[in-house]
Protein backbone atom coordinates (compact mmCIF):
# COMPACT_ATOMS: atom_id res chain seq x y z
CA UNK A 1 0.00 0.00 0.00
CA UNK A 2 1.37 3.37 -0.97
CA UNK A 3 -0.46 5.57 1.44
CA UNK A 4 -0.55 5.06 5.20
CA UNK A 5 -3.95 4.10 6.53
CA UNK A 6 -4.88 5.67 9.83
CA UNK A 7 -7.78 4.09 11.65
CA UNK A 8 -9.68 5.51 14.60
CA UNK A 9 -10.80 2.50 16.63
CA UNK A 10 -13.44 2.31 19.35
CA UNK A 11 -14.08 -0.49 21.83
CA UNK A 12 -16.87 -0.63 24.45
CA UNK A 13 -17.85 -4.30 24.66
CA UNK A 14 -17.55 -4.71 28.42
CA UNK A 15 -16.25 -2.41 31.15
CA UNK A 16 -13.49 -0.47 29.40
CA UNK A 17 -14.24 2.57 27.26
CA UNK A 18 -11.38 2.67 24.79
CA UNK A 19 -10.23 4.51 21.67
CA UNK A 20 -7.02 4.34 19.67
CA UNK A 21 -5.38 5.58 16.50
CA UNK A 22 -3.49 2.87 14.61
CA UNK A 23 -1.43 3.20 11.41
CA UNK A 24 -1.39 0.32 8.91
CA UNK A 25 -2.61 -2.12 11.54
CA UNK A 26 0.71 -2.29 13.34
CA UNK A 27 1.77 1.11 14.61
CA UNK A 28 -0.13 2.47 17.59
CA UNK A 29 -0.19 6.27 17.77
CA UNK A 30 -2.42 6.28 20.84
CA UNK A 31 -4.27 3.77 22.97
CA UNK A 32 -6.58 5.29 25.58
CA UNK A 33 -8.44 3.06 28.03
CA UNK A 34 -10.88 4.35 30.61
CA UNK A 35 -11.56 1.53 33.05
CA UNK A 36 -14.75 1.25 35.08
CA UNK A 37 -13.35 -1.44 37.34
CA UNK A 38 -13.74 0.56 40.56
CA UNK A 39 -17.50 0.84 40.30
CA UNK A 40 -18.06 -2.77 39.21
CA UNK A 41 -15.90 -3.98 42.10
CA UNK A 42 -18.64 -2.66 44.42
CA UNK A 43 -21.00 -5.19 42.84
CA UNK A 44 -18.55 -8.10 42.60
CA UNK A 45 -18.68 -8.14 38.81
CA UNK A 46 -19.64 -6.13 35.76
CA UNK A 47 -23.18 -4.70 35.92
CA UNK A 48 -24.32 -4.28 32.29
CA UNK A 49 -26.56 -1.23 32.81
CA UNK A 50 -23.93 0.61 34.83
CA UNK A 51 -21.29 -0.27 32.24
CA UNK A 52 -23.47 1.18 29.47
CA UNK A 53 -24.07 4.38 31.45
CA UNK A 54 -20.37 4.85 32.13
CA UNK A 55 -19.53 4.31 28.46
CA UNK A 56 -21.76 7.13 27.30
CA UNK A 57 -20.41 9.45 30.00
CA UNK A 58 -16.82 8.88 28.93
CA UNK A 59 -16.79 8.01 25.25
CA UNK A 60 -16.28 11.47 23.74
CA UNK A 61 -13.49 12.33 26.17
CA UNK A 62 -11.74 9.04 25.44
CA UNK A 63 -11.95 9.54 21.66
CA UNK A 64 -10.73 13.13 21.94
CA UNK A 65 -7.85 12.00 24.11
CA UNK A 66 -6.93 9.31 21.59
CA UNK A 67 -6.85 11.84 18.74
CA UNK A 68 -4.90 14.37 20.79
CA UNK A 69 -2.37 11.83 22.07
CA UNK A 70 -1.85 10.62 18.50
CA UNK A 71 -1.27 14.18 17.34
CA UNK A 72 -3.95 13.91 14.67
CA UNK A 73 -7.40 15.28 13.93
CA UNK A 74 -10.29 13.54 12.23
CA UNK A 75 -9.02 15.10 8.98
CA UNK A 76 -6.10 12.64 9.16
CA UNK A 77 -8.29 9.59 9.77
CA UNK A 78 -9.04 7.20 6.88
CA UNK A 79 -11.59 4.90 8.52
CA UNK A 80 -13.44 4.20 11.75
CA UNK A 81 -13.28 0.71 13.28
CA UNK A 82 -15.54 -0.42 16.10
CA UNK A 83 -16.21 -3.57 18.09
CA UNK A 84 -19.73 -4.79 17.33
CA UNK A 85 -19.64 -8.10 19.17
CA UNK A 86 -19.44 -10.29 21.10
CA UNK A 87 -20.01 -8.53 24.41
CA UNK A 88 -22.68 -6.80 26.49
CA UNK A 89 -25.28 -5.51 24.06
CA UNK A 90 -25.97 -2.21 25.82
CA UNK A 91 -22.28 -1.52 26.18
CA UNK A 92 -21.50 -2.42 22.56
CA UNK A 93 -24.32 -0.19 21.31
CA UNK A 94 -22.71 2.94 22.71
CA UNK A 95 -19.51 2.39 20.74
CA UNK A 96 -21.36 1.25 17.63
CA UNK A 97 -23.73 4.27 17.57
CA UNK A 98 -20.87 6.68 18.25
CA UNK A 99 -18.65 5.16 15.55
CA UNK A 100 -21.43 5.16 12.98
CA UNK A 101 -22.22 8.81 13.74
CA UNK A 102 -18.58 9.87 13.37
CA UNK A 103 -18.25 7.90 10.13
CA UNK A 104 -21.43 9.48 8.77
CA UNK A 105 -20.60 13.03 9.81
CA UNK A 106 -17.12 12.81 8.26
CA UNK A 107 -18.10 10.51 5.39
CA UNK A 108 -15.48 7.92 6.43
CA UNK A 109 -15.54 4.17 5.81
CA UNK A 110 -16.90 2.18 8.76
CA UNK A 111 -15.57 -1.23 9.75
CA UNK A 112 -17.29 -3.43 12.33
CA UNK A 113 -14.75 -5.60 14.14
CA UNK A 114 -15.14 -8.88 16.03
CA UNK A 115 -13.84 -8.46 19.56
CA UNK A 116 -11.93 -11.77 19.56
CA UNK A 117 -10.38 -10.99 16.17
CA UNK A 118 -9.20 -7.82 17.86
CA UNK A 119 -7.60 -9.76 20.70
CA UNK A 120 -5.80 -12.03 18.23
CA UNK A 121 -4.67 -9.00 16.20
CA UNK A 122 -3.15 -7.43 19.33
CA UNK A 123 -0.20 -9.70 18.59
CA UNK A 124 0.48 -7.90 15.29
CA UNK A 125 1.20 -4.67 17.09
CA UNK A 126 4.33 -5.66 18.96
CA UNK A 127 5.44 -8.47 16.69
CA UNK A 128 5.95 -7.02 13.22
CA UNK A 129 7.28 -10.35 11.96
CA UNK A 130 4.14 -12.27 12.94
CA UNK A 131 1.93 -13.14 9.98
CA UNK A 132 -0.69 -15.81 9.44
CA UNK A 133 -0.90 -18.73 9.48
CA UNK A 134 -0.45 -19.35 13.20
CA UNK A 135 -2.27 -20.82 16.17
CA UNK A 136 -3.77 -18.63 18.87
CA UNK A 137 -5.29 -19.25 22.27
CA UNK A 138 -7.70 -16.49 23.28
CA UNK A 139 -8.47 -16.50 26.98
CA UNK A 140 -10.39 -13.82 28.85
CA UNK A 141 -13.23 -13.26 31.29
CA UNK A 142 -15.77 -13.95 28.57
CA UNK A 143 -13.95 -16.18 26.08
CA UNK A 144 -11.80 -19.27 25.77
CA UNK A 145 -11.04 -20.10 22.14
CA UNK A 146 -8.34 -22.13 20.48
CA UNK A 147 -8.11 -20.65 16.99
CA UNK A 148 -6.36 -21.47 13.76
CA UNK A 149 -5.57 -18.18 12.04
CA UNK A 150 -5.45 -19.17 8.37
CA UNK A 151 -4.98 -15.68 6.99
CA UNK A 152 -5.77 -12.11 7.95
CA UNK A 153 -9.46 -12.14 8.81
CA UNK A 154 -9.77 -15.91 8.27
CA UNK A 155 -10.26 -17.92 11.39
CA UNK A 156 -11.15 -21.47 12.23
CA UNK A 157 -12.23 -22.26 15.78
CA UNK A 158 -10.63 -25.52 16.86
CA UNK A 159 -11.96 -25.51 20.40
CA UNK A 160 -13.90 -23.43 22.84
CA UNK A 161 -15.24 -23.65 26.34
CA UNK A 162 -18.44 -25.59 26.90
CA UNK A 163 -19.27 -23.75 30.11
CA UNK A 164 -17.29 -21.08 31.98
CA UNK A 165 -14.63 -19.00 30.28
CA UNK A 166 -11.18 -19.40 31.86
CA UNK A 167 -11.27 -15.87 33.26
CA UNK A 168 -14.74 -16.45 34.63
CA UNK A 169 -13.44 -19.49 36.54
CA UNK A 170 -10.68 -17.30 37.98
CA UNK A 171 -13.28 -14.77 39.14
CA UNK A 172 -15.52 -17.39 40.71
CA UNK A 173 -12.71 -19.21 42.52
CA UNK A 174 -11.22 -15.91 43.70
CA UNK A 175 -14.56 -14.99 45.22
CA UNK A 176 -14.83 -18.40 46.92
CA UNK A 177 -11.41 -18.11 48.54
CA UNK A 178 -12.06 -14.54 49.60
CA UNK A 179 -9.76 -12.72 47.18
CA UNK A 180 -12.52 -10.69 45.55
CA UNK A 181 -12.95 -9.18 42.10
CA UNK A 182 -11.24 -9.15 39.63
CA UNK A 183 -10.04 -12.69 40.25
CA UNK A 184 -7.39 -13.15 37.56
CA UNK A 185 -4.67 -10.79 38.77
CA UNK A 186 -5.38 -11.63 42.42
CA UNK A 187 -5.04 -15.38 41.96
CA UNK A 188 -1.93 -14.83 39.87
CA UNK A 189 -0.31 -12.81 42.67
CA UNK A 190 -1.33 -15.06 45.58
CA UNK A 191 -0.29 -18.19 43.65
CA UNK A 192 3.34 -17.12 43.73
CA UNK A 193 3.32 -17.89 47.47
CA UNK A 194 1.56 -21.23 47.03
CA UNK A 195 2.41 -24.79 46.05
CA UNK A 196 0.79 -25.66 42.69
CA UNK A 197 1.01 -29.38 43.46
CA UNK A 198 -0.55 -29.10 46.93
CA UNK A 199 -4.03 -30.13 45.78
CA UNK A 200 -4.74 -32.33 42.79
CA UNK A 201 -7.68 -30.59 41.12
CA UNK A 202 -9.15 -32.28 38.03
CA UNK A 203 -8.08 -31.28 34.50
CA UNK A 204 -11.34 -30.79 32.64
CA UNK A 205 -11.88 -32.88 29.52
CA UNK A 206 -14.74 -32.71 27.07
CA UNK A 207 -15.58 -36.14 25.78
CA UNK A 208 -15.39 -36.45 22.00
CA UNK A 209 -13.92 -33.00 21.35
CA UNK A 210 -10.25 -32.88 22.13
CA UNK A 211 -9.85 -29.13 21.73
CA UNK A 212 -12.84 -27.97 23.74
CA UNK A 213 -12.53 -26.80 27.31
CA UNK A 214 -14.60 -27.19 30.46
CA UNK A 215 -13.88 -25.27 33.64
CA UNK A 216 -17.08 -25.62 35.63
CA UNK A 217 -16.05 -29.05 36.98
CA UNK A 218 -12.77 -27.59 38.19
CA UNK A 219 -14.59 -24.70 39.81
CA UNK A 220 -16.93 -27.15 41.60
CA UNK A 221 -13.94 -29.24 42.72
CA UNK A 222 -12.44 -26.14 44.34
CA UNK A 223 -15.74 -25.33 46.06
CA UNK A 224 -16.07 -28.93 47.27
CA UNK A 225 -12.54 -28.89 48.57
CA UNK A 226 -13.21 -25.69 50.52
CA UNK A 227 -16.44 -27.15 51.90
CA UNK A 228 -14.72 -30.31 52.96
CA UNK A 229 -11.99 -28.38 54.77
CA UNK A 230 -14.63 -26.34 56.55
CA UNK A 231 -16.54 -29.47 57.65
CA UNK A 232 -13.42 -31.21 58.86
CA UNK A 233 -12.07 -28.10 60.46
CA UNK A 234 -8.91 -28.16 58.34
CA UNK A 235 -7.39 -24.71 57.82
CA UNK A 236 -7.38 -23.66 54.15
CA UNK A 237 -4.10 -22.44 52.69
CA UNK A 238 -5.43 -19.86 50.27
CA UNK A 239 -2.17 -19.59 48.35
CA UNK A 240 -2.04 -23.37 47.80
CA UNK A 241 -5.65 -23.48 46.62
CA UNK A 242 -5.04 -20.56 44.25
CA UNK A 243 -1.79 -22.04 42.89
CA UNK A 244 -3.25 -25.53 42.46
CA UNK A 245 -6.35 -24.18 40.74
CA UNK A 246 -4.28 -21.97 38.46
CA UNK A 247 -2.04 -24.93 37.59
CA UNK A 248 -5.06 -27.02 36.66
CA UNK A 249 -6.31 -24.28 34.29
CA UNK A 250 -2.90 -23.63 32.77
CA UNK A 251 -2.17 -27.33 32.24
CA UNK A 252 -5.31 -27.81 30.20
CA UNK A 253 -4.78 -24.65 28.16
CA UNK A 254 -1.20 -25.60 27.34
CA UNK A 255 -1.99 -29.25 26.62
CA UNK A 256 -4.74 -28.44 24.14
CA UNK A 257 -2.65 -25.73 22.51
CA UNK A 258 0.35 -28.01 22.01
CA UNK A 259 -1.88 -30.74 20.70
CA UNK A 260 -3.07 -28.27 18.05
CA UNK A 261 0.53 -27.29 17.29
CA UNK A 262 1.31 -30.92 16.54
CA UNK A 263 -1.79 -31.61 14.50
CA UNK A 264 -1.73 -28.44 12.42
CA UNK A 265 2.03 -27.96 12.28
CA UNK A 266 1.97 -24.35 13.50
CA UNK A 267 5.42 -22.77 13.43
CA UNK A 268 4.13 -19.84 15.44
CA UNK A 269 1.79 -19.78 18.39
CA UNK A 270 0.26 -16.76 20.14
CA UNK A 271 -1.91 -16.09 23.16
CA UNK A 272 -4.32 -13.20 23.62
CA UNK A 273 -7.04 -11.86 25.90
CA UNK A 274 -7.07 -10.75 29.52
CA UNK A 275 -5.91 -14.09 30.93
CA UNK A 276 -2.91 -13.97 28.57
CA UNK A 277 -1.46 -11.59 31.19
CA UNK A 278 -1.37 -14.44 33.69
CA UNK A 279 2.27 -15.04 34.53
CA UNK A 280 1.95 -18.81 35.04
CA UNK A 281 0.24 -19.20 31.64
CA UNK A 282 2.86 -17.08 29.88
CA UNK A 283 5.69 -19.07 31.41
CA UNK A 284 4.16 -22.47 30.75
CA UNK A 285 3.32 -21.57 27.13
CA UNK A 286 6.77 -20.17 26.55
CA UNK A 287 8.39 -23.38 27.83
CA UNK A 288 6.04 -25.61 25.88
CA UNK A 289 6.63 -23.70 22.64
CA UNK A 290 10.40 -23.71 23.20
CA UNK A 291 10.29 -27.47 23.68
CA UNK A 292 8.50 -27.78 20.33
CA UNK A 293 11.00 -25.41 18.74
CA UNK A 294 8.34 -22.93 17.61
CA UNK A 295 8.03 -19.18 18.13
CA UNK A 296 5.80 -17.95 20.93
CA UNK A 297 4.05 -14.57 20.92
CA UNK A 298 2.13 -12.70 23.57
CA UNK A 299 1.03 -9.08 23.76
CA UNK A 300 2.13 -6.85 26.65
CA UNK A 301 -0.44 -6.72 29.44
CA UNK A 302 -1.93 -3.41 28.23
CA UNK A 303 -2.75 -5.05 24.90
CA UNK A 304 -4.12 -8.19 26.56
CA UNK A 305 -6.82 -6.30 28.38
CA UNK A 306 -9.73 -4.90 26.36
CA UNK A 307 -8.36 -2.02 24.30
CA UNK A 308 -9.03 -0.25 21.03
CA UNK A 309 -5.55 -0.54 19.51
CA UNK A 310 -6.21 -4.21 18.85
CA UNK A 311 -9.51 -3.25 17.18
CA UNK A 312 -7.60 -0.81 14.98
CA UNK A 313 -5.17 -3.57 14.02
CA UNK A 314 -7.96 -5.97 13.07
CA UNK A 315 -9.91 -3.21 11.28
CA UNK A 316 -6.91 -2.42 9.09
CA UNK A 317 -6.79 -5.91 7.57
CA UNK A 318 -10.54 -5.78 6.95
CA UNK A 319 -10.10 -2.35 5.38
CA UNK A 320 -7.41 -3.71 3.06
CA UNK A 321 -9.76 -6.44 1.92
CA UNK A 322 -12.37 -3.83 1.06
CA UNK A 323 -14.72 -4.87 3.84
CA UNK A 324 -17.04 -2.05 4.91
CA UNK A 325 -20.00 -1.93 7.28
CA UNK A 326 -23.06 0.11 6.45
CA UNK A 327 -25.02 2.41 8.75
CA UNK A 328 -27.32 -0.38 9.84
CA UNK A 329 -24.41 -2.03 11.70
CA UNK A 330 -25.85 -3.42 14.92
CA UNK A 331 -24.34 -4.73 18.13
CA UNK A 332 -24.37 -8.52 18.17
CA UNK A 333 -23.80 -9.84 21.70
CA UNK A 334 -23.13 -13.46 20.66
CA UNK A 335 -21.32 -12.79 17.38
CA UNK A 336 -19.40 -15.87 16.26
CA UNK A 337 -15.80 -15.75 15.15
CA UNK A 338 -15.53 -15.53 11.37
CA UNK A 339 -19.21 -14.49 11.09
CA UNK A 340 -20.18 -11.31 9.23
Amino acid sequence: MDKDVRILAIESSCDETAAAVVVNGREVLSNIISSQIDIHTLYGGVVPEIASRKHIERINQVIREALTAAGVTLDDIDAVGVTYGPGLVGALLVGVAEAKAIAWARQLPLIGVHHIEGHISANYIEHRELEPPFGCLVVSGGHTHLVRVRDYGEYEILGRTCDDAAGEAFDKVARAIGLGYPGGPKIDRVSREGDPSAIDFPRGKVRGSEYDFSFSGLKSAVLNYLNECRMKGIPVRTADVAASFQKAVVDVLVEHSMHAVEEYGFREFAIAGGVASNSALRLAMEEACAKKGISFYRPSPVLCTDNAAMIGAAAYYEYRKGIRSDYSLNAIPNLQLGER
Binding site: I39, L42, Y43, V47, E49, I50, S52, R53, H55, I56, E57, I59, N60, Q61, I63, R64, L74, V89, G90, L93, V94, G95, V96, A97, E98, A99, K100, A101, I102, W104, A105, R106, Q107, D326, Y327, S328, L329, N330, A331
Partner: protein
Protein backbone atom coordinates in the same frame (compact mmCIF):
# COMPACT_ATOMS: atom_id res chain seq x y z
CA UNK B 1 -29.41 27.91 11.69
CA UNK B 2 -29.87 24.28 10.72
CA UNK B 3 -30.19 21.42 13.18
CA UNK B 4 -30.53 17.66 13.15
CA UNK B 5 -33.10 16.39 15.67
CA UNK B 6 -33.29 12.81 16.92
CA UNK B 7 -35.71 10.88 19.10
CA UNK B 8 -35.11 7.21 19.87
CA UNK B 9 -36.43 7.29 23.42
CA UNK B 10 -39.35 4.95 22.85
CA UNK B 11 -40.80 2.65 20.24
CA UNK B 12 -40.56 5.14 17.35
CA UNK B 13 -37.25 6.12 15.83
CA UNK B 14 -37.44 9.60 14.39
CA UNK B 15 -35.02 11.99 12.72
CA UNK B 16 -35.56 15.46 11.31
CA UNK B 17 -33.56 18.25 9.73
CA UNK B 18 -34.95 21.65 10.61
CA UNK B 19 -34.32 25.33 10.19
CA UNK B 20 -36.02 27.86 12.39
CA UNK B 21 -39.66 27.87 11.29
CA UNK B 22 -39.23 25.03 8.79
CA UNK B 23 -38.89 21.28 8.86
CA UNK B 24 -36.77 20.33 5.83
CA UNK B 25 -37.17 16.59 6.26
CA UNK B 26 -38.54 14.15 8.77
CA UNK B 27 -38.50 10.36 8.94
CA UNK B 28 -40.29 8.35 11.61
CA UNK B 29 -40.45 4.60 11.88
CA UNK B 30 -42.35 2.59 14.44
CA UNK B 31 -41.26 -0.97 13.85
CA UNK B 32 -39.71 -3.89 15.65
CA UNK B 33 -36.21 -3.31 14.21
CA UNK B 34 -33.84 -1.85 16.78
CA UNK B 35 -32.98 1.83 16.75
CA UNK B 36 -29.41 0.77 16.19
CA UNK B 37 -30.43 -0.63 12.80
CA UNK B 38 -32.81 2.16 11.81
CA UNK B 39 -31.69 5.51 13.20
CA UNK B 40 -28.52 6.27 11.26
CA UNK B 41 -29.82 4.85 7.96
CA UNK B 42 -32.83 7.18 8.43
CA UNK B 43 -30.58 10.18 9.11
CA UNK B 44 -28.53 9.28 6.05
CA UNK B 45 -31.63 8.85 3.89
CA UNK B 46 -33.20 12.22 4.70
CA UNK B 47 -29.83 13.92 4.33
CA UNK B 48 -29.38 12.48 0.84
CA UNK B 49 -32.94 13.45 -0.05
CA UNK B 50 -32.26 17.11 0.74
CA UNK B 51 -28.59 17.13 -0.38
CA UNK B 52 -27.50 17.88 3.16
CA UNK B 53 -23.79 18.17 3.82
CA UNK B 54 -23.43 17.05 7.47
CA UNK B 55 -20.88 19.82 7.98
CA UNK B 56 -23.63 22.39 7.29
CA UNK B 57 -25.41 21.43 10.52
CA UNK B 58 -25.14 23.99 13.32
CA UNK B 59 -26.27 21.76 16.20
CA UNK B 60 -27.70 18.36 17.04
CA UNK B 61 -30.80 18.07 19.23
CA UNK B 62 -31.67 14.82 20.94
CA UNK B 63 -34.54 13.62 23.09
CA UNK B 64 -32.44 13.13 26.19
CA UNK B 65 -34.84 11.22 28.40
CA UNK B 66 -36.79 9.74 29.91
CA UNK B 67 -37.16 6.65 27.78
CA UNK B 68 -35.83 3.18 27.23
CA UNK B 69 -32.29 3.22 28.63
CA UNK B 70 -30.83 1.57 25.55
CA UNK B 71 -32.89 3.67 23.14
CA UNK B 72 -31.76 6.87 24.85
CA UNK B 73 -28.14 5.82 24.62
CA UNK B 74 -28.41 5.06 20.91
CA UNK B 75 -29.81 8.55 20.32
CA UNK B 76 -27.31 10.21 22.62
CA UNK B 77 -24.28 8.34 21.26
CA UNK B 78 -25.40 9.24 17.73
CA UNK B 79 -25.74 12.91 18.69
CA UNK B 80 -22.46 12.87 20.60
CA UNK B 81 -20.62 11.24 17.70
CA UNK B 82 -21.89 13.84 15.22
CA UNK B 83 -21.16 16.62 17.70
CA UNK B 84 -17.62 15.33 18.19
CA UNK B 85 -16.97 14.79 14.50
CA UNK B 86 -18.17 18.26 13.46
CA UNK B 87 -17.38 20.13 16.67
CA UNK B 88 -20.97 21.24 17.10
CA UNK B 89 -23.05 21.78 20.25
CA UNK B 90 -25.83 19.51 21.40
CA UNK B 91 -29.29 20.43 22.63
CA UNK B 92 -30.65 18.10 25.27
CA UNK B 93 -34.43 18.17 24.89
CA UNK B 94 -36.44 16.53 27.70
CA UNK B 95 -38.46 13.85 25.91
CA UNK B 96 -41.81 14.80 27.41
CA UNK B 97 -41.36 18.53 26.70
CA UNK B 98 -40.81 17.62 23.05
CA UNK B 99 -43.97 15.50 23.10
CA UNK B 100 -45.92 18.42 24.59
CA UNK B 101 -44.83 20.37 21.50
CA UNK B 102 -46.93 17.99 19.39
CA UNK B 103 -49.72 20.30 20.72
CA UNK B 104 -47.81 23.56 20.32
CA UNK B 105 -49.94 26.53 21.28
CA UNK B 106 -52.69 24.58 23.01
CA UNK B 107 -53.94 26.09 26.25
CA UNK B 108 -55.27 22.76 27.43
CA UNK B 109 -53.41 20.84 30.09
CA UNK B 110 -51.02 18.57 28.21
CA UNK B 111 -49.91 15.35 29.81
CA UNK B 112 -47.51 13.22 27.78
CA UNK B 113 -46.69 9.97 29.53
CA UNK B 114 -44.47 6.99 28.75
CA UNK B 115 -44.92 3.55 30.21
CA UNK B 116 -42.14 3.18 32.78
CA UNK B 117 -43.04 -0.38 33.94
CA UNK B 118 -42.94 -1.15 37.67
CA UNK B 119 -46.52 0.32 37.77
CA UNK B 120 -45.26 3.80 36.94
CA UNK B 121 -45.29 6.20 34.03
CA UNK B 122 -42.79 8.89 33.17
CA UNK B 123 -45.00 11.96 32.95
CA UNK B 124 -44.81 15.73 32.86
CA UNK B 125 -47.63 18.28 32.87
CA UNK B 126 -47.47 21.23 30.50
CA UNK B 127 -49.48 24.01 28.95
CA UNK B 128 -48.82 26.69 26.38
CA UNK B 129 -49.27 30.39 26.92
CA UNK B 130 -49.22 31.42 23.26
CA UNK B 131 -45.78 30.19 22.18
CA UNK B 132 -44.35 29.67 25.65
CA UNK B 133 -44.25 26.18 27.11
CA UNK B 134 -45.17 26.32 30.78
CA UNK B 135 -43.88 23.38 32.79
CA UNK B 136 -46.58 22.80 35.39
CA UNK B 137 -44.96 19.63 36.71
CA UNK B 138 -41.53 18.62 35.48
CA UNK B 139 -41.13 15.15 33.98
CA UNK B 140 -40.57 12.36 36.53
CA UNK B 141 -41.55 8.78 37.25
CA UNK B 142 -44.95 8.63 38.97
CA UNK B 143 -47.60 6.06 39.84
CA UNK B 144 -50.59 6.37 37.52
CA UNK B 145 -52.92 6.76 40.56
CA UNK B 146 -50.93 9.76 41.80
CA UNK B 147 -50.79 11.28 38.34
CA UNK B 148 -54.58 11.03 37.93
CA UNK B 149 -55.14 12.72 41.30
CA UNK B 150 -52.82 15.54 40.30
CA UNK B 151 -54.49 15.97 36.90
CA UNK B 152 -57.97 15.99 38.47
CA UNK B 153 -56.94 18.66 40.98
CA UNK B 154 -55.26 20.78 38.35
CA UNK B 155 -58.22 20.57 35.97
CA UNK B 156 -60.64 21.51 38.77
CA UNK B 157 -58.48 24.44 39.83
CA UNK B 158 -57.98 25.86 36.33
CA UNK B 159 -61.22 24.76 34.71
CA UNK B 160 -59.21 23.50 31.73
CA UNK B 161 -59.50 20.15 30.02
CA UNK B 162 -56.75 17.66 29.32
CA UNK B 163 -54.91 16.16 26.38
CA UNK B 164 -53.29 12.81 27.11
CA UNK B 165 -50.63 11.33 24.85
CA UNK B 166 -47.82 8.83 24.71
CA UNK B 167 -47.62 5.07 25.10
CA UNK B 168 -48.32 5.42 28.83
CA UNK B 169 -51.75 6.81 27.95
CA UNK B 170 -52.31 3.77 25.72
CA UNK B 171 -51.28 1.32 28.45
CA UNK B 172 -53.44 2.98 31.15
CA UNK B 173 -56.28 4.09 28.89
CA UNK B 174 -59.04 2.28 30.75
CA UNK B 175 -57.77 3.38 34.16
CA UNK B 176 -57.63 6.99 32.93
CA UNK B 177 -61.13 6.78 31.43
CA UNK B 178 -62.55 5.46 34.69
CA UNK B 179 -60.80 7.85 37.05
CA UNK B 180 -60.39 11.22 35.37
CA UNK B 181 -63.06 13.66 36.55
CA UNK B 182 -62.20 16.43 34.08
CA UNK B 183 -62.76 16.57 30.35
CA UNK B 184 -60.03 14.92 28.34
CA UNK B 185 -58.94 13.89 24.86
CA UNK B 186 -56.61 11.11 23.88
CA UNK B 187 -54.26 12.30 21.15
CA UNK B 188 -54.86 10.94 17.65
CA UNK B 189 -52.12 8.67 16.25
CA UNK B 190 -50.46 11.43 14.24
CA UNK B 191 -49.85 13.44 17.43
CA UNK B 192 -49.57 10.67 20.01
CA UNK B 193 -45.94 9.61 19.74
CA UNK B 194 -42.42 10.99 19.89
CA UNK B 195 -41.36 12.75 16.72
CA UNK B 196 -38.14 14.49 15.85
CA UNK B 197 -39.85 17.57 14.42
CA UNK B 198 -41.25 18.29 17.88
CA UNK B 199 -37.79 17.78 19.35
CA UNK B 200 -36.58 20.38 16.86
CA UNK B 201 -39.33 22.85 17.78
CA UNK B 202 -38.45 22.60 21.47
CA UNK B 203 -34.72 22.67 20.67
CA UNK B 204 -35.00 26.07 18.95
CA UNK B 205 -36.69 27.43 22.08
CA UNK B 206 -33.95 26.01 24.31
CA UNK B 207 -31.25 27.39 22.01
CA UNK B 208 -32.80 30.85 22.35
CA UNK B 209 -32.61 30.41 26.13
CA UNK B 210 -28.94 29.50 25.78
CA UNK B 211 -29.52 25.93 26.93
CA UNK B 212 -26.92 24.10 24.88
CA UNK B 213 -24.24 21.60 25.82
CA UNK B 214 -20.97 20.39 24.42
CA UNK B 215 -21.03 16.92 22.91
CA UNK B 216 -18.75 15.77 25.74
CA UNK B 217 -21.10 17.06 28.44
CA UNK B 218 -24.20 15.43 27.09
CA UNK B 219 -25.57 12.31 28.80
CA UNK B 220 -29.08 10.90 28.80
CA UNK B 221 -31.32 11.78 31.72
CA UNK B 222 -32.76 8.39 32.69
CA UNK B 223 -34.83 9.69 35.64
CA UNK B 224 -34.07 6.37 37.29
CA UNK B 225 -31.03 4.67 38.77
CA UNK B 226 -30.08 1.24 37.47
CA UNK B 227 -31.61 -1.80 39.09
CA UNK B 228 -28.27 -2.86 40.58
CA UNK B 229 -27.88 0.52 42.27
CA UNK B 230 -31.45 0.43 43.55
CA UNK B 231 -31.05 -3.06 45.01
CA UNK B 232 -27.76 -2.09 46.59
CA UNK B 233 -29.28 1.04 48.11
CA UNK B 234 -32.15 -1.01 49.55
CA UNK B 235 -29.68 -3.40 51.17
CA UNK B 236 -27.60 -0.57 52.55
CA UNK B 237 -29.97 2.24 53.49
CA UNK B 238 -27.04 4.57 54.16
CA UNK B 239 -26.46 4.69 50.41
CA UNK B 240 -28.63 7.15 48.57
CA UNK B 241 -29.66 5.95 45.11
CA UNK B 242 -27.16 7.20 42.58
CA UNK B 243 -24.40 7.74 45.10
CA UNK B 244 -22.99 4.34 44.21
CA UNK B 245 -22.20 5.64 40.77
CA UNK B 246 -19.80 8.22 42.08
Amino acid sequence: MKILAIDSSGMPASAAVAEEGRILAEYTVCFKKTHSQTLLPMIDAISRMIDLDPASLDAVAVAGGPGSFTGLRIGSATAKGIGLALDRPLVHVPTLEAMACNFFGSSRILCPMMDARRSQVFAGIYSFRNETLDILTDQRPVRIEDLVKELNALAAETGRSLILLGDGADVYRSYLEENLTAGYLFAPPNLNAQRASSVAVRAFQLIREGKIQTAEQHCPDYLRVSQAERVRAEKEPSLKPGSAAE
